[in-house]
């Protein structure tokens, strides 16, 4: 349930913050200490724009504890415009609407609760890009 565990992930969960390698320019999500491309330690924070497309998707029917109340829910690997893949649930979409290549954008949503009076954990999910946006 740990409050600290979720508190230290705030930047990543609420703002999709990762790193940029100052040496080779690679944009990395999640954050790391060592650039996987060039092994540099010269990394700075970088906030991703949250735009991307679906690389793959699924619908979960048998969920782990804490998520079983939400089934069936769609989840995906999203290829962000800047390059990295990110794993997340999809939201604001019917379970049979997702497709590979679907343009999506990041939103902040509830990930789970810890019981009726426990911590509510928020984080990123992805929804289909709203019409009228580039």
């Amino acid at each position: 349930m740990s409050l600290a565990k979720h508190w230290r992930m705030q930047q990543q969960r609420y703002r999709l913050t990762g790193m940029q390698c100052e040496d080779c320019g690679a944009k990395l999500l999640p954050r790391r200490l060592v650039c996987p491309q060039c092994k540099s330690h010269n990394l700075q924070l970088y906030s991703f724009k949250g735009q991307g497309m679906v690389y793959s998707y699924t619908v979960v029917y048998d969920a782990p504890s804490g998520y079983d109340g939400y089934v069936p829910y769609p989840a995906a690997l999203v290829r962000l415009d800047e390059g990295p893949l990110v794993a997340a649930q999809l939201t604001d979409v019917d379970i049979d609407e997702a497709y590979i290549g679907m343009p999506v954008e990041m939103v902040t949503r509830r990930l789970r609760e810890h019981g009726e009076s426990g911590l509510i954990v928020y984080g990123y999910k992805f929804r289909p890009k709203l019409k009228g946006q580039a």
Binding site: S56, V59, D62, S65, Y67, A87
Partner: protein, 384 residues
């Protein structure tokens, strides 16, 4: 480096053993193996187990098992690498003997899963994923494999039913394995109609978690003595890792850890992929089986499923896999699976596989953790 022989094997049936705990299961497989090897003690015990703490509240499992098996005081340690725990324990046992530090060791894989059910088990299994970036999003292990399967189907123009042949093959082979959990054949139609767990993976595409324990005795040639000539030998052993999260890998559909460990093992054993007569691979899901064949160099990329569709993975095919039922039908006590694979290969290489006998001289066992973050490959040779 010394030669390493397998001089004894033992296993319990795989099922929901309501009346037996982990220590019972492990000890019974140890006693079987000791008796077969003609010994009553060992220099060390390596226990492969993934989820003892999560599922039963018991840690320090190796000391507990050593004592319960009547081997109190023996050097004993538990090895964890998610689904590859059993294979990783074999790796450590191999290193201990090959290096000359120990002459005779036991490697035991054990998992007790049936004390909890449903979401609690999915939550425990999810500890093999990246907790901060995968599990937190409600992505179960099944869901992560489903993401791989969906992308693979898209890239290689396949349908769900094309993957059925892995489960059909495993079930067919388990019919003749008295230790297997599911001993009835299934059809492609049943695979297609089975309930979805995480789309597109269904219940008949998922290895069943269960209870079980298997043990092998590893000996140096000095300790094996006259038995060495009639014993299966481990000729290749290698373990490699990859990023835990699917999204941290440059190509999620290519299992780099499998490739690395398989190729190191081939090099050590002095064999090529073509010379592998049997492949006990880690069929937790059909997609993982297909990707394992590809990364191990036994099928070109994108052709793993087609190899199964063409019947080449059957006992009579070019690349027999899961000859005693694999994870899918023999059953999948997670941390024990890697040791069951070795036991089954030994049966084949000793010509003790009964109705499932394959004409084999060289076999390969491969154990995988999570979606491919740990892969351990062993190559075994039949006795002279």
């Amino acid at each position: 480096m010394r030669r390493v022989y397998i001089t004894g094997i033992g296993q319990t049936p795989v099922r929901e053993h309501w009346d037996r705990s982990a220590r019972d299961l492990a000890a019974s497989s140890i006693l079987q193996a000791l008796e077969q090897a003609g010994i009553d003690k060992a220099d060390a015990i390596y226990v492969g187990n993934a989820l003892s703490g999560e599922l039963t509240g018991q840690e320090q499992l190796a000391a507990l098992i050593a004592d319960f098996a009547g081997l109190t005081g023996t050097e004993a340690i538990r090895v964890e690498a998610a689904g590859a725990s059993g294979g990783a324990a074999v790796r450590l046992g191999y290193l201990a003997v090959a290096s000359g530090v120990h002459d005779t060791v036991l490697v035991t894989g054990v998992e007790k899963m049936s004390d909890l059910a449903g979401p609690a088990v999915e939550e425990a299994l999810a500890t093999s994923t990246d907790e901060e970036y995968e599990a937190i999003h409600g992505l179960s292990v099944v869901a992560l494999h489903a993401l791989l399967m969906r992308r693979y189907m898209h890239d290689y123009d396949l349908e769900r039913r094309d993957f059925a042949h892995f489960s059909v093959n495993s079930h067919r082979n388990a019919v003749n394995n008295e230790y297997a959990m599911f001993r009835r054949p299934i059809t492609v139609e049943a695979f297609e109609k089975a309930r979805l767990v995480a789309d597109p993976i269904s219940l008949l595409d998922s290895a069943p978690v269960a209870d079980g324990a298997a043990t092998i005795v590893l000996c140096s040639d000095k300790a094996a003595g006259k038995r060495a000539n009639s014993s299966v030998e481990i000729t290749g052993s290698a373990l490699a890792t990859d990023a835990v999260a699917l999204h941290d890998r440059p190509n999620p559909l290519f299992l780099r850890a499998v490739q690395e460990s398989a190729h190191k093992a081939y090099a050590q054993a002095g064999v090529t992929p073509k010379q592998i007569d049997i492949f006990e691979l880690h069929d937790a899901f059909a997609i993982l089986a297909a990707l394992s064949l590809e990364a191990s160099g036994l099928a070109p990329e994108g052709e793993g499923v087609r190899l199964a569709m063409e019947g080449e993975i059957a006992l009579e095919g070019r690349t027999p896999i899961c000859t005693m039922g694999g994870q899918k039908a023999r059953g999948y006590p997670v941390g024990a699976a890697g040791v069951y694979q070795i036991v089954e290969l030994v049966q084949q290489l000793r010509s003790e596989a009964g109705a499932n006998q394959v004409d084999a001289r060289v076999g390969m066992a491969q154990s995988i953790g999570g979606t491919g973050a740990t892969a351990v490959t062993h190559i075994l040779k039949s006795p002279e």
